[in-house]
């Protein structure tokens, strides 16, 4: 396993963080081919906070899976941080997910009966860091999302908002280039939603983490500085706009 310092991939600050060119994804469902993505071309710069919107079936989840290196495009090129990802094998993709990408899911996806600290340790565990370092960095990440007091709690003992914060800490602990959030507030009430979006916005503005948000709620999308609208596997609108300010920043 590589040490942390080797994690730095070819890094060219002049180029964009994400460059997608002519991405296609075709599924075969029975006898018909379903085109989930049709010729998507997209460039995302470092430090952007971008919302991908669209109805279900519009291809936004497919795009997100490809951007998150969980899925490979049928055709097209995807460069992440200067590396051609579409050519990589399973293990290399796992490594990229481990070092470059943090996931936040709608249903939190914490490992049950495993405490918050251990959940957050997970990416570092797979990176092969020492237990001491895993614990230290996981505790720091939990503190950043305001859960320093809850490290020993199991997901079942935490509220939805707290669980999502643990998930954010888990995404954060690996110091990723991109944070991919798939409907991060889909299962949360309004207050918790605002908390979570506040944390994400702070991470974007203070730490310069690129955040890609998938949502169908315009309200949530307004936190982003750029909004993409997808329909039938294509990007039909791409606009930049002023972001909604965070009323009560959760992260100091």
């Amino acid at each position: 396993m590589k040490s942390d310092s080797e994690a730095v991939l070819p890094h060219d600050s002049m180029s964009a963080l994400i460059e997608c060119q002519d991405l296609w994804k075709v599924y075969r469902a029975g006898d018909i081919d379903v085109q989930a993505l049709c010729a998507v071309t997209l460039t995302i710069q470092r430090g952007e906070m971008i919302a991908i919107m669209g109805a279900s079936g519009s291809g936004k989840s497919t795009l997100m899976n490809i951007l998150g290196c969980l899925d490979a495009p049928t055709k097209g090129r995807y460069r992440l941080n200067g590396v051609e990802v579409s050519a990589l094998g399973q293990d290399a993709l796992a490594d990229i997910r481990n070092r470059q990408i943090g996931f936040v899911f709608q249903n939190f996806n914490l490992i049950p009966r495993t405490n918050a600290l251990e959940n957050v340790q997970l990416p570092l565990f797979y990176r092969g860091l020492s237990l001491k370092e895993q614990r230290g960095r996981a505790a720091d990440a939990l503190a950043r999302v305001g859960l320093a007091e809850r490290v020993g709690h199991h997901p079942a003992q935490l509220s939805g908002g707290q669980q999502q914060r643990v998930a954010i800490a888990r995404a954060l602990v690996a110091a990723p280039a991109i944070l991919l959030a798939d409907e991060p507030t889909g299962n949360l009430d309004t207050d918790s939603s605002r908390d979570i979006m506040g944390i994400l916005q702070t991470l974007n503005q203070q730490d310069g983490i690129t955040i890609i948000l998938v949502t169908h709620e315009t309200d949530i999308a307004r936190y982003a500085s750029r909004q993409l609208l997808m329909k039938d596997g294509q990007i039909v609108r791409d606009e930049r706009r002023a972001t909604r300010p965070v009323n009560e920043p959760v992260v100091p």
Partner: protein, 411 residues
């Protein structure tokens, strides 16, 4: 890597601890399998040791030479059918082979023995005085047949315990009394200490000894003077036996003027050979029991595979999450393999405890000798690890090849 292994093992234990009943039931097959392997092998080893001890009691350094088969006009008689061995053979063997401490000879026939109004059919053995030393008989009363008895063809007899029981009333002293064999009166000069059953299960105490010379002339008769039913010889140490056997063969072949292409006209047997047959039998039994126990180990392995497949399905989402945060297929594979091996190892250790207890219980309650062999424990332990690996591989591989997107979406 070590942090990964360590934490994975820890996690495996935690997961098993969480589903104690399920883990216990899953391990049951391995526990019973390993337990029975160890108990069976212990019982088998115990039986083998008992046989070995019995062989030693009969004299592990004794060589027996029996006459060979006769061939009359192409019809071969059974072993011992020919009369090819003589007293002179015995004397010559002792003279020519320094390894032999003692040589003796004898012949036997079952005859009616009478004491007062009681009679009993016993094997009557005419023997040289040295025979008693070779076979290591001792006496519960009286003493042995001596060289003088041999030279004078004295009408004296030694009785085995079984013969005594059948010819005398309880409490009656046989030594000094007179019995009749084929109407010839014999004075009883000793009673043999009991030897119990032979390895073949025959009663070694149902026996009667008289001097060879007396037997030859007055009781058993003879085809030609000096012909014997069997030769006996002993070496100092049982290690010398194989070499002594070869020397005996050479001397006898020379004495019998056998050409190199001719087969031996005698058969040489040792107690070691006889014991080996017994050991082989118990070895076969042990192997069979081992096979049966192995089947239950395999069944235990299938149990592990089954429960792991359930676990993989239950934890599909978790596997998806692990993959999303950077677990490689090897990580996932290792995790489930380690869980399988933890199950089979814990089961194996519990099985060893059960097997040792089982063997002890058998000794205490059934009185069977058992020997707990460290090899059996090692083999059972290794076997359970291999079972865990083998039957864990399929579920682990299934987990490792889940599609992360589908796994994350799994409800």
């Amino acid at each position: 890597m070590s942090a990964f292994l360590w934490l994975t093992i820890l996690t495996a234990f935690r997961i098993l601890g969480r589903n104690r009943l399920r883990a216990g039931l899953t391990m049951l097959g391995i526990i019973i399998g390993v337990g029975s392997v160890i108990a069976m092998v212990s019982i088998g080893e115990g039986a083998k040791a008992a046989v070995r001890a019995q062989v030693a009691s009969m004299g592990s350094n004794v060589i027996i030479v029996l006459p060979g088969a006769t061939t009359v006009g192409g019809v071969r008689g059974g072993q011992g059918g020919a009369v090819t061995l003589t007293v002179a053979d015995a004397l010559d063997l002792k003279k020519k082979i320094p390894l032999l401490v003692e040589t003796g000879y004898g012949k036997r026939d079952v005859m009616q023995v009478v004491n007062a109004n009681k009679n009993w059919n016993a094997p009557v053995n005419g023997i040289s005085a040295s025979y008693l030393t070779i076979r290591d008989w001792s006496y519960s009363s009286g003493g042995p047949i001596t060289q003088t008895d041999m030279e004078t063809a004295a009408r004296v007899a030694l009785l085995g315990q079984t013969v005594v029981e059948n010819l005398y009333d309880p409490g009656e002293e046989p030594v000094g009394s007179t019995i009749r064999i084929k109407n010839v009166p014999f004075r009883v000069i000793g009673v043999l200490a009991p030897k119990g059953q032979s390895a073949q299960g025959s009663d070694q105490d149902d026996i009667l000894f008289i001097p060879f010379t007396t037997a030859e002339r007055k009781v058993l008769g003879t085809q030609f003077l000096g012909s014997v039913g069997a030769l006996f010889a002993s070496t100092d140490r049982s290690e010398d036996l194989p070499e002594a056997v070869e020397s005996v063969r050479e001397v006898l072949r020379t004495r019998h003027r056998l050409q190199s292409e001719q087969a031996d006209d005698f058969t040489i047997r040792t107690q070691v050979d006889i014991g080996r047959v017994q050991e082989d039998a118990s070895q076969t039994l042990t192997a069979m029991m081992f096979a049966i126990a192995s089947i239950s180990l395999v069944v235990g392995g299938i149990g592990i595979m089954n429960i792991l497949l359930v676990s993989v399905t239950e934890r599909t989402r978790e596997i998806g999450v692990r993959m999303a945060v950077g677990a490689t297929r090897r990580h996932i594979l290792m995790q489930f393999l380690i869980e399988a091996m933890t199950l089979s190892l814990v089961g194996g250790v519990l099985g060893i405890v059960l097997g040792v207890l089982g063997a002890r219980t058998t000794t205490i309650f059934a009185g069977w000798p058992t020997i707990i062999s460290p090899q059996a424990i090692l083999v059972a332990f290794v076997f359970s690890v291999v079972i865990g690996l083998f039957f864990g591989l399929y579920p682990a591989n299934k987990a490792a090849h889940l599609n992360p997107i589908e796994a994350l979406r799994y409800e």
